[in-house]
Amino acid sequence: MSALAPTARTPSWSRMIGRTPALAGGLGLFGLFVLAALAAPLIAPFDPILQNTDARLVGPSLAHPFGTDNFGRDILSRVIWGTRIDLQIALIGVIFPFLLGTAVGTIAGFFGGIVDTVLMRLIDVILAFPFLVLMLAIIAILGPGLTSFFIAMALVGWVSYARLVRAQILVLKTQDFAVAAASLGFGRARIMFRHLLPNALAGSLVFAMSDAVLVLLTGAAISYLGLGVQPPLAEWGVMVSEGQAFLTTAWWITLFPGLAIVTLAFSFSLMGDGLANLLGVRE
């Protein structure tokens, strides 16, 4: 087989990244957040939850570049430690819907028939609910917390991936290479996962990046509402809500964690745009 196969392009990663500045910028920015999360104990100047009664509500200064909150906790240190939780929110919150949705979409698209019809109706119904409302309803039942958030995310988030992958599979399974694989006597599972799925993934990979933005914002919003990560943990949404009571006097408590969310979200958007460019995916 390999002798007949066209010479595979082996594009070097560095060259591919160089061609799409959006991807390079996004990866760089994202890398900084990963670094901050890993090195939090080393680079954070203060303990994120240690209270200091001598330094309450101090504005941005040399000692505290982002200021301190009403407990005298250093905002910069809390933002850095918060990277750990919010990166988790975005990554875990995307990976389960991605896996579940891809599996469901592949099966629905490949087998068609009653399986497909039932799954698509289920997706229609889930999509009829406003995303956040269904998330909140599920969290209401499971009780507040990060675990509930991840479960709710998996239960609600898979539908978009399933739709995307299914649409791709429907097109791909009629194409020559799929028909050829079937006529060679390959099993269904092999055709589905080795031939169709890899070709169907580009679109959902790009979508996963914009989904990461949505998941991050949702996780932070649910924590802001008091239904996700609980204080005193340093999560950015929690920090914003803690700053709300001091809006008139200490704006920095609110401003900086929000900027962190915006920046991380921007890095996902850039990576998404870059990947779409690179893989030739139209959004």
Partner: protein, 312 residues
């Protein structure tokens, strides 16, 4: 008029979805661990009240019979009582519709006012500096958490400039409008980030369409081509886009109502979660889902009304 006959039949398409919505909201509350009667009544339930609820919801019957009771009660306009407010959930929701509807309407209007000029500038200068700026700003804007944006707007417009009230809703129309200004701006900014990107893409497509080329060939100035052919042709995608994003929009209002303490359905939902008022959670989720379905129906009708080629 026969083009609009589908308005009569289209709702039938949505029946399976409505059925699904009712099943999901029904199942949600049954999933709560413990005795459903106690869940429905809260912790301070009396034995008589529990017996009444058992009879009303058929809680001793099998699950599908319970679902039948649920639908029968719903048809009678009863969804169960709120533990906190002591009135029927549907009546409670009815009192909360106005602020939410006003917020959604104001947000949509504002977001179009923001997105339309931005998309126009970007599409007409495709690849140029204004286009690049609009694209970066809208990409950034998608990542703005509404709850944080709301607080930043409060700092700027309420604390510093003292222009708008910080929270609440007010009694008279001018009061309500003043109270809605910042919440609507918050939701509109989030929405217009999404809207600008898609509207720009729709306009670029329309600029390259045969209609536009033909108009140019007839010697029509580019500005006239734009306003007479490109903008109207971008309208239908925009309406469908708004319909697709209605879920995102409602999510935004849920959060923003909580930030600004606006007594709408979103704030009702969040408070109900904290007070374990499950009947209210169920009712609001269902109401929002039905509203989404209704918006999609309206978008279908508008599409047919605006584009003579579309037949449904």
């Amino acid at each position: 008029m026969h083009r609009y006959r589908f308005v009569l039949f289209r709702p039938l398409h949505f029946l399976p979805v409505l059925f699904g919505i009712s099943v999901i909201t029904f199942v949600l509350v049954r999933l709560i661990p413990g005795d459903p009667a106690r869940v429905i009544l809260g912790t301070r339930a009396t034995p008589t009240a529990i017996a009444n609820i058992r009879a009303q919801y058929g809680l001793d019957e099998p699950l599908w019979t319970q679902y039948f009771f649920f639908i029968r009660n719903l048809a009678n306009g009863e969804m169960g009582r709120s533990i906190l407010y002591k009135i029927d959930v549907l009546k409670l929701i009815a009192t909360r519709i106005e602020p939410t509807l006003a917020l959604v309407a104001a947000s949509v209007l504002l977001s179009i006012l923001i997105a339309l000029p931005l998309a126009t500038i970007a599409a007409r200068n495709q690849g140029g500096l204004p286009d690049q700026i609009v694209r970066v700003v809208s990409t950034l804007g998608i990542g703005f958490p509404p709850f944080w944006l709301a607080l930043i707007l409060i700092i700027v417009f309420s604390v510093r400039l003292d222009l708008f009230p910080v929270s609440g809703y007010g009694e008279t129309l001018p009061e309500k409008l003043a109270h809605l200004a910042l919440p609507a701006l918050t939701v509109a900014l989030s929405l217009s980030a999404v809207l600008t990107r898609s509207l720009r893409a729709a306009m670029i497509e329309a600029l390259a369409s045969d209609v536009a080329t033909a108009a140019r060939a007839r010697g029509m100035p580019e500005g006239v081509v734009f306003w007479r052919h490109v903008v109207p042709n971008s309208l239908v995608p925009t309406i469908n886009l708004l319909a697709v994003n209605i879920g995102w929009l409602i999510g935004g209002t849920v959060v923003v109502e909580s930030v600004f303490a606006i007594p709408g359905m979103g704030q009702l939902l969040v408070r109900a979660i904290f007070s374990r008022d499950y009947m209210v959670v169920q009712g609001v989720a269902m109401a929002f889902a039905c509203a989404t379905v209704l918006v999609n129906l309206i978008a279908d009708i508008l599409t047919v009304a605006l584009d003579p080629r579309v037949k449904l």
